[in-house]
């Protein structure tokens, strides 16, 4: 296969799947947040690869602009997510998501 868009998209898919597996299978809330960051990075790689390879001999910058917005939202998400984790740890002395079942019916 000719080197190009497909390679980056498959790398992005592999990275996203690793992140998905970790986000579903981990018990530590910080580890889950780390896996979500891996997933967001995978999506960014796909967007930047599209911006580079969809138009021959040029770079289409809309994909990179989208990636910048994703990085912004990821930074906000990390800050609020870690604040929530620290608040949970303060009230329950644990960051195990299986023990954070206060809203379970």
């Amino acid at each position: 296969m000719h080197f190009g868009l497909e390679h980056y998209l498959i790398l992005s898919a592999v990275m996203f799947s690793i992140g998905l597996y970790g986000a579903l299978a981990k018990r530590n809330a910080v580890a889950i947040l780390m896996c979500i960051e891996i997933m967001l990075n995978a999506v960014n790689i796909a967007l930047v690869a599209f911006s580079r390879y969809l138009v021959p001999n040029a770079v289409l910058l809309t994909g990179q602009v989208f990636a910048i917005f994703i990085i912004t939202v990821a930074a906000a998400e990390a800050a609020v997510g870690l604040a929530i984790i620290i608040a949970i740890y303060r009230s329950r002395q644990s960051v195990d998501v299986e023990q954070a079942d206060l809203m379970k019916g």
Binding site: F3, E6, Y8, L9, L11, A13, V14, M15, F16, S17, I18, G19, L20, Y21, G22, L24, A25, K26, R27, N28, V30, A31, M34, C35, E37, I38, N41, N44, I45, A49, R52, Y53, V55, N57, A58, V59, L60, L61, T62, Q64, V65, A67, I68, F69, T72, V73, A75, A76, E77, A78, A79, V80, L82, A83, I85, A87, Y89, S94, D96, V97
Partner: protein
């Protein structure tokens, strides 16, 4: 040249990402995650996205990495480490099914047929991207000025929200 760089970087990205999921020690997992972020910046460079590579190093490897290590230090439970929950096997099956689906779609799609993108800002290959990204973000007719302003409000809300959440109520 770019192909070789891509393969090396891709190997490191996948290896460190897998290590983040599989390692028992969450502190080492966080350090490898920062290495993963750095390597993703390298992948952006192979895609001619120099500005995004710099942003990736500053925000992901710098800010988010430090924030994650900070949170691990504050909440670390040494005897528990970083275990899997009881969904280990179903999650693996779901992730592998997702991976197979996406790879199938990527391989079977003919990407060369995409046309009709003349509305967007383009730039020639092998140029610094910063100025062109400014045009793409702030252009009067085809820019992203309103999303940019909304993103700044979102950052302010996240800032205030994080402070309110960790404030000691007693």
């Amino acid at each position: 040249m770019i192909e070789l760089a891509f393969w090396i970087l891709a190997l490191i990205v996948v290896g460190t990402a897998a290590a983040v999921v599989l390692l028992r020690d969450i502190f080492r997992a966080a350090l490898l995650l920062i290495l993963c972020f750095f390597t993703v910046a390298g992948i952006y460079i192979t895609l001619n996205a120099d500005f995004l590579a710099a942003v990736q190093v500053l925000i992901y490897a710098g800010a988010i990495g430090v924030l994650l290590i900070f949170a691990i230090m504050l909440t670390r439970n040494l005897k528990e480490g970083n275990p899997f929950n009881r969904l280990k096997l179903p999650a693996l099956i779901v992730a592998l099914l997702f991976l197979a689906t996406v790879i199938g779609v990527v391989v079977s799609t003919n990407w060369a047929t995409v046309t009709g993108v003349s509305q967007a800002v383009e730039m020639p290959v092998d140029q610094p991207t910063t100025g062109y990204i400014a045009t793409a973000l702030f252009d009067q007719s085809k820019g992203f000025v309103l999303p940019f302003e909304i993103a700044s409000v979102l950052l302010l809300a996240a800032l205030i929200g994080a402070i309110v959440l960790v404030k000691d109520r007693s």
